[in-house]
Subunit: 427 residues, 2 copies
Amino acid sequence: MDPLRIGIAGLGTVAQGLLEILHANSSEITRRAGRSLSVVRVASRSPKPSVDLGTADFSTDLSTLHDADIDVVVELIGGEDTALQLVRDAMAHKQSVVTANKAIIARHGNELVADAGREGVMLGFEAAVAGGVPIVNALTRGMVGNRVQWIAGIINGTSNYILTAMADHGSTFAAALQEAQGLGYAEADPAFDVEGVDAAHKLTILAALAFDTDFRFDAVYTEGITHITTEDIEYARELGYAIKHLGIARSSQDGIEARVHPCLIPRNCMLANVDDVMNAVLVHADAAGPTLYYGAGAGARPTASAVIADLVAMARGDAVDFKVGGADHGALNMEQVETAYYLRVPSLDEPGVFARVATILSEHAISIEGAIQRERAVHVDTSASWVPIIILTHRVREHVMTSALKAVQALPEIVGEIMRIRVEQLD
Amino acid sequence: MDPLRIGIAGLGTVAQGLLEILHANSSEITRRAGRSLSVVRVASRSPKPSVDLGTADFSTDLSTLHDADIDVVVELIGGEDTALQLVRDAMAHKQSVVTANKAIIARHGNELVADAGREGVMLGFEAAVAGGVPIVNALTRGMVGNRVQWIAGIINGTSNYILTAMADHGSTFAAALQEAQGLGYAEADPAFDVEGVDAAHKLTILAALAFDTDFRFDAVYTEGITHITTEDIEYARELGYAIKHLGIARSSQDGIEARVHPCLIPRNCMLANVDDVMNAVLVHADAAGPTLYYGAGAGARPTASAVIADLVAMARGDAVDFKVGGADHGALNMEQVETAYYLRVPSLDEPGVFARVATILSEHAISIEGAIQRERAVHVDTSASWVPIIILTHRVREHVMTSALKAVQALPEIVGEIMRIRVEQLD
């Protein structure tokens, strides 16, 4: 059978990893695909670094990737505008596309999936979510007989590294971020990771695949980890929880909820043990029950592994024809989402404060599941005469909690901003 | 497109779960498969229980499944001889086959894969390993660009349940087994599970897929968990380890090693946190690095989920054409396998015993990584004047350890049988 002829856009670390692995494992890949995967051309707007391209041409003109001798364009240039145009152009030229670009799939996935269908080409984006973890494959093939009820994932390695360092070494957020930057895990501008935007892109993709819905990046509630303190991590631990930055999507009668935020989860659950830069996605489905997929969420070689999975599926002619948008589900506003809460309420060290807080919660029909109130505060500035009241609540809708906390915050005994972190049992 | 016409052999709990889910999720499955999955006939040698078969016929004659109106036979009768004959007959009738039967794939997989290729039909056995965990899919598609270096899995839920109960509640093996039997997790004759045969079947399949080799059930070293004591679990915990029953397969220059046995693994690794009846497989591959797949290893609905994944792949015409046997790897004898060891040496409570044991290990070039020696024994019969010496060694070949332990066992101060459990760092 003729080789699958590949053009690669970009020649950064992922592209170099891809070339390396396609070369190193070529006999295995050819045998499994039933034909060889041949890189015909690499195009990058920057001058070619000293990288061995084997028999491939090099061009600084991306448009040469649309020549008729290329079947599949692999988009690894990143960014948004140029990458999107390249993908559109490829499909217009009847070329299939593999991309690791979560932003363009999350923001333009509906259009691109429709384009692929119309042009009769294949679109693969296994590499766009959780790096080397074959989660797109798991959702679209492994779970194909299931209705997925919810998914919860640690899908940003940088944030997970920072939270792990804070939990394991008591580092502050700032120190842990600096450490991550020193190790190359975080960009100089880390906002994209620590504010949750990157995770929201990935959650958009996971939710679309899990629930056969449109890609709805605009509907994802997004909250980062910059406000998490070591104090909260310590209290959470005392209560039997770890704090992780999760992407959660759930399908219910009310609609689809999709949210990225820090979250207390039981310390003995699998996700709580996913540390450092590792990623994992827990999928709760009606037939299979809970399944979890864990691995490296980034890096040149894991990403290349995912790209090759898509390329081999295309070589075999059996890439999944995504069924996103097949079902009509509304997006659920965050105000309507129901979760449990961890609250840290900085209050004057006076009798009766806890009772007043509890009364307000009770008036809003919010039940308290547990609390920590110290005789003497351990984690606070010792010169102050205030203590944190720590409360775990039962599940309640977000807008109810917001109203209740507004009332609590207005109490004269409350001396600082209340911290709230959502809690999920993941069962 | 015409429906995929399915015949089901067997009407036990898995078959009933399959019928239930095919019915409940039929609109999703049809949309994703691009055609409907229609159960034409159910055949079971036992009389039909009161189960709703929808539009399907029922027959007590298994041979009616080979009629021309059936495209795929789903083998869910279990056992070996009749099931194997049914699968052979189906393929001879140009029918594709889906089976949850690990024994026939492990023992006859080479023949059956070859038959499928010759007859031009598809063979699916996702359900044969780790129930609802789509591990066959992950290995044959997700990891298709990788060379897998090794895999390690908790692939028998009964054994894992027993070891979890022993670790969490201090139950003895016998009590934990009884508990598992009471909950329906273990058969009246539990040997198949607790002696490791079931895990060896699954490991045979995983190894064949991971390394593109033949199914070599005969080459799997198999050791159960019946000799594990709570004492060993306690010592392991003290050393920072959990004891799990693992299936491990590794590819090296020396050949393929495949072994099922209890194993100390670091308590903070993902596999150590896989508890109760859950299964998980850790795959270490050259491009993706470590990935892990976790979920329910048994049960009607998870197994049905896996069966449907195969059926949908067949409906789409893209079931994987297994490449097992593609590479020529020798099987490595257990004597040549290298692992670290935990040793519990019951010895007289006299000075110098530890030194004598250490000297013998040293003479065999076995390095000690750690040890526990108590002033006063905690876990032993208090009327005895002996103590256990606990030793962790560095990696050494099995036959070297066997020789060394023979010499240690012959020391006059050693008053009971030495316990050895292999140790893996899984990194």
